[in-house]
Amino acid sequence: MHLSDGIVTWPVLAGGTTAAVAGLAVGLNRLKPERVPRVAVLSSTFFVASLIHVPVGVASVHLILNGINGLLLGWAAFPSIFIALTLQMLLFQFGGITVLGLNTFIMAFPGVVAGLLFGWMVRSRSPNMVMIGGFFIGSLSVFLSGALLALALDLSGEQFFEAAMVVLAAHFPIMLLEGVFTSVCVGFLKKVKPEMLDAPQ
């Protein structure tokens, strides 16, 4: 899921980095100090989640958690994910310095979008809506990330359908896994601390 340096062409890099900077600006601008501990916790969770792999058939997948970042932080998902990706790059050499902005955008933006689209379901009183909303947020954010990644590859010259098939096929089990996980998380929070699920801004 992390794009490496040298794969994507300059125009795509420039566009993605600009979009990431814009997202970061919005996120930091709206960030209230009381929210910072929460951002730190979610950033840590995102940072660590990529390291825990779950065997699926012959391959393995890992949680991305951009959906839950987007739901609980809104636009602050950008700084959260940016910091986590930077640390992953510095410590484990995942991704690369030139693609840091693009990777941030690919992971954070879908989370924000999914949170905005389905957040209302999670805030409803019906436990079924909460569960389903959580699932949608988790799976949609993974799907959109996969789609953006495929798009970045396509715009850089890889055959679109070939790259898209590979990327989306790889993401499909993660979509399900993440949907279920987000759903469980959200259900838990609803019972224990429902205020956390309120609209971020």
């Binding site: 040298g6 794969i7 100090p33 910072v36 840590s44 390291l51 949680l63 910091i83 050499q93 838990f188």
Partner: protein, 196 residues
């Protein structure tokens, strides 16, 4: 019952401490070496699985492509090449992962090495300017060296693979940074509030 499971986020963060941490496919590693007139490459993901069916492009110093191909089931790809001292190799796994490496070959060093001669003549001693020069079958030496070096090379490959897995100390370091940055940010804000 759910309450007893504890905060899910903290659970995830602490999970690496309890599970053997392993990773799949965040980074692809490329390793190359010269041998016997060819360049050999090995590609594998950060958890050790081979990088199969991925494009390799090799260029010389000036950027001209000298070889192109695809890695096999074991992540290997090789091509014959002897001319230049510098070979730049890049790998594209097609799903966003890539890697590059540059291979530099040392020029053969000078006089003190035994001179090599074709294999038919039995080794003979000659005296020349008070130095003794041995005529040795280069092919035989090459074979013996390869036999001795192969296990070493395998060892190095294993060590490289181990070194590149994410390690727990780095995870803890990363978490420390996140906490520290959050703290610094909040401290900065509180300072600004005091002044304003």
């Amino acid at each position: 019952m759910m309450r007893r499971l504890g905060n899910p986020f903290i659970a995830i963060i602490l999970l690496p401490l309890f599970l053997p941490v392993s990773v799949h496919a965040h980074k692809v590693n490329l390793f190359a070496y010269h041998e016997g007139g060819s360049v050999f490459t090995e590609s594998y993901f950060s958890d050790g699985t081979p990088c199969r069916n991925s494009r390799i492009t090799a260029r010389d110093e000036s950027g001209t492509v000298i070889a192109r191909g695809v890695t096999d089931d074991e992540g290997l790809f090789s091509f014959a090449y002897e001319e230049g001292a510098v070979v730049r190799i890049s790998l594209n796994a097609g799903d966003g992962h890539g890697a590059e490496t540059t291979l530099r070959r040392k020029e053969a060093s000078g006089e003190k090495l035994p001179e090599a001669v074709g294999g038919e003549n039995p080794p003979a001693m000659e005296k020349s300017n008070e130095r003794t020069v041995l005529n040795i079958d280069e092919e035989a030496v090459g074979r013996i060296m390869e036999e001795k070096i192969a296990p070493l090379r395998e060892s190095i490959s294993q060590v490289r693979k181990k070194m590149e897995r994410p390690r727990l100390d780095k995870v803890i370091g990363g978490l420390g940074w996140i906490v520290g940055l959050a703290g610094a940010y909040l401290w900065g804000i509180s300072r600004r509030r005091e002044k304003g």
